[in-house]
């Protein structure tokens, strides 16, 4: 039954997932084409010094910031909004499966898709990065970008929770709470290795947000207004 449910979710989300993934891969290639271009035009030593010691340093990977968020928004919206808007979610809730388990499986599928997309983009970025920069640059850069990837899980969880919530006032509250929490992950960074100390707190917030969708699912199932 779970596999069938996953297949249903895959049909809903596949184009959004593939579209976001292709955009993400293109952005990673674009980032490193720009880096190589700058190295050629300015000279590798000058560009490296700008990356290391400009104040603020060149954050050559800043374009990557919103890619995981874009993936989460695309998957979240395509998975929940049409189904809730057309009230087809009621049909889903009548499937022969525990409703809480069903909502959890739907959310799990979304989170898995985001993980696959994030994994591909992350590995590609790290591979290109370590070819061009020494480990002393790659390590702090990884710390920073990981938090942008973590933000995608929080965004997805809040989209799912807001979309399934039957009450408009609560939807607004959830959306505002989600946006304020998301803003913590997107500071204007001015050095490599930003979020190093706050990363555990940000990861815990994202983890805590995972079961929130069950609350909206429970209220929807009860027919709350």
């Amino acid at each position: 039954m779970i596999l069938h449910l996953f297949y249903k979710e895959w049909i809903k989300t596949r184009w959004a997932f593939l579209g976001a993934l292709i955009i993400g891969i293109c952005i990673v290639f674009y980032i490193f084409i720009m880096v190589e271009n700058r190295m050629t035009m300015l000279g590798a030593k000058n560009y490296t010094l700008s990356v290391l010691y400009d104040n603020p340093p060149v954050i050559y990977y800043s374009l990557l910031q919103y890619i995981p968020l874009l993936t989460a928004i695309c998957i979240g919206i395509s998975q929940y909004i049409p189904e809730v808007k057309n009230k087809r979610i009621r049909l889903t809730l009548h499937l022969p499966m525990n409703n809480q388990k069903l909502i959890a499986c739907m959310a799990l599928f979304g989170l898995l898709l985001i993980t696959v997309s994030n994994g591909i983009i992350f590995v590609l970025f790290e591979w290109k990065n370590q070819l061009l920069f020494p480990a002393e640059v790659t390590r702090p850069v990884t710390v920073t970008i990981i938090n942008w990837f973590i933000a995608s899980y929080l965004a997805y969880n809040y989209i799912a929770m807001t979309a399934l919530e039957p009450n408009g006032y609560r939807q607004l509250l959830y959306a505002i709470t989600g946006l304020i929490l998301l803003s913590l992950y997107f500071n204007n960074i001015n050095f490599h290795g930003a979020y190093k100390d706050s990363a555990p707190v940000l990861a815990i917030i994202a983890l805590v947000s995972c079961p929130l969708v069950l609350f909206s699912g429970y209220r929807l199932n009860k027919g709350e207004r």
């Binding site: 190295m39 590798a44 030593k45 000058n46 560009y47 490296t48 010094l49 290391l52 010691y53 809480q100 070819l131 061009l132 920069f133 020494p134 002393e136 640059v137 702090p140 509250l173 709470t177 304020i180 929490l181 913590l184 500071n187 204007n188 960074i189 001015n190 050095f191 490599h192 290795g193 930003a194 979020y195 190093k196 100390d197 706050s198 707190v201 917030i205 805590v208 947000s209 079961p211 929130l212 069950l214 609350f215 429970y218 209220r219 709350e224």
Partner: protein
């Protein structure tokens, strides 16, 4: 049951957000600009001069008043004359700049020797990759090399910026003197000025794994390495590109030292250092100012770094205001981030006078529950009550934003 636990998680997330934003909104909306108090040391009278800002609440204007060490008010023109190094441009325009001071001619060299800087004990972020410049180049200026160096457990390694590969020969050449001097790899800290915007290069000051201090530079392509005796653990080093100093050194107690270009080490006699110093130096004096929350102290030192005088003034600060007092009675704690560094710092309220509001919030919660004829001993209500009691206003708002339904 699952939904009720999830609701609690939702409330906790809301409390986190409120603790992050509400105290900051409150402070920004009520905070007033503190009036400035500045302390100077006159090279003319060899005594302190205090500049205080005071406000006029009627027309909302603030103006500076100047006082001598005895507390007598002095006119602004007199104040400028007493501090010729601080007001050189204005005095020259007024035609009041003295030709000599204390029998010393105030030539361009002496006037340009004035330095002002801020020293911070907390080390700024560093990626531990630095370019090693030529310290005695044939042409004037500093040229950027093709490589950067790091000091890890294998020793010093020069990495070519273009190929991202180690330059084995150069690495071996520079590793040799470090090994001979007994350098313990890897380096704990590398401090210098990794910029070409300086007149000359002085190399780097490196703290090895055994907390020993070394000076490394490149002279005509050859390595120069010297150990500098330092007792204590080094926290940070602030290097200077000109003047008679190599650098200021901070130890792990925020105590500050100066290292002269003759490799002489002087301890700066500052009491209760908090890790932030405002340094001014000229031909006659070196001054170190330490600002605490409620007071500012100026230490005056001779050119040989011997203490001559010190003076303390109380200063205006938000934490002493009535608004801050109200803030402490509203918010039980707040969460802050260091500017730019994106680190969360939970700050518990040091003055525990917020408990009255916490009790009031918890009381209101119970009264409302009783009016609505709810059973207050239900686990969910007990949990809400506990959250409100512990987190006060945050918990109260959180619980009512996300109410519990049957």
């Amino acid at each position: 049951m699952g939904a009720k636990i999830v609701r609690i998680l939702l409330i906790l997330l809301a409390i986190f957000i409120m603790a992050y934003y509400l105290p900051s909104f409150y402070q920004k909306s009520v905070e007033k600009r503190p009036y400035k108090t500045m302390i100077y040391f006159s090279e003319v009278t060899h005594d302190f001069i205090i500049a205080k800002e005071s406000g006029d609440t009627l027309n909302r204007q603030a103006e500076m008043h100047y006082y001598d060490a005895k507390g007598n008010e002095i006119p602004e023109k007199e104040y400028m004359k007493l501090l010729p190094f601080n007001n050189t441009r204005k005095l020259k325009l007024m035609g009041e700049m003295p030709d000599s001071l204390n029998g010393i001619e105030l030539n361009n060299k002496i006037l340009k020797s004035v330095r002002r800087s801020i020293l911070i004990a907390e080390p700024f972020y560093s990626l531990a990759l630095n370019p090693l410049f030529e310290s005695q180049p044939e042409r004037i200026g500093v040229q950027l090399p093709d490589d950067v160096f790091r000091i890890n457990k294998h020793g010093i390694e020069f990495l070519n910026c273009e190929s991202n590969r180690i330059e084995q020969e150069k690495s071996k050449k520079f590793n040799q003197p470090l090994i001979e001097k007994g350098f313990s790899f890897p380096a704990k800290g590398i401090y210098g000025i990794p910029s070409t915007i300086k007149l000359k290069d002085d190399g780097y000051f490196i703290v090895d794994n055994s907390n020993r201090l070394f000076h490394l530079k490149m002279i005509k392509g050859e390595p120069f390495c010297k150990e500098i005796k330092f007792n204590g653990t080094i926290k940070n080093i602030k290097c200077h590109s000109s003047g008679d100093l190599f650098c200021h050194i901070f130890d792990d107690n925020n105590q500050i030292y100066v290292l002269t270009r003759e490799y002489e080490l002087h301890k700066i006699p500052v009491e209760n250092p908090n890790g932030r110093f405002f340094v001014t130096s000229n031909y006659f004096y070196n001054t170190y100012k330490v600002n605490d929350k409620d007071k500012s102290t100026l230490y005056v030192l001779s050119p040989e770094y011997k203490l001559i005088a010190k003076h303390t003034e109380t200063i205006d600060h938000y934490s002493h205001s009535k608004e801050a007092e109200i803030e402490r009675s509203i918010f039980p704690f707040k969460i802050m981030r260091t500017p730019g560094l994106a680190h969360f710092i939970p700050i518990p309220n040091p003055v525990k006078d917020f408990y009255i509001l916490n009790l009031i919030c918890a009381g209101i919660f119970i009264i409302i529950k009783l009016i609505r004829r709810r059973k207050i001993w239900l686990p969910v209500n007990v949990a809400d009550f506990t959250i409100i009691l512990l987190t006060g206003i945050y918990g109260f708002i959180g619980v009512w934003i996300f109410p519990n339904r049957k």
